[in-house]
Amino acid sequence: MDNSDRPLSPHLGIYRPQLTSLLSIAHRGSGIFLTLGTLLLVYWLLALAEGPESYARAQAFFGSALGRLILFPWVFALFYHLCNGIRHLFWDMGMGFEIQTVYLSGKIVVTAATLLTLAAFGMGYYMHGGGA
């Protein structure tokens, strides 16, 4: 029997992207990105264990334009995953499922993650004396 023209249940491609779905995907994405970033953390620790010269090389890499291009989104992913994780904890307690609340908490998470990232880098540059 040919079933090919039977209706399909709606899937990802049929929905217009919404804040809720985008943040959900971003939570997965940031989690994967954070896991990949731990490889760099291991590299940093290995360089530290190897001695001053290799540590200086690692520090130079993380301080370079490419290093900062990786570090900035990584720190943002970390804060986003942290804030959205707290949002998930509320959901686990059955709280905040009303549609307005879901959108509001989503906007709060994005704002908080952005502010925390800027604060972390602002503090870093401030403590470093405003230079490279």
């Binding site: 540590y55 993380f62 994780g85 904890l89 972390a120 870093g124 540059y125 403590m127 470093h128």
Partner: protein, 64 residues
Amino acid sequence: MSMRTPLARVRGTGSAKYGVHHWWAQRLSAIALVPLFLWFVASMTAVATAVVSVVAVMSTAWGG
């Protein structure tokens, strides 16, 4: 009419009964990660900007 398989009915047990433990372990580790994440970022920022020496951080249990 029961929907359970004959084996489950014989054993008298439904699920593996690990669900609640797993749920709590996941929640508690997630909550514990909140302060740990903040500590991690703060200490890494301090090390990266040479406010404290990395040797000093690694020499103590507290990292600071």
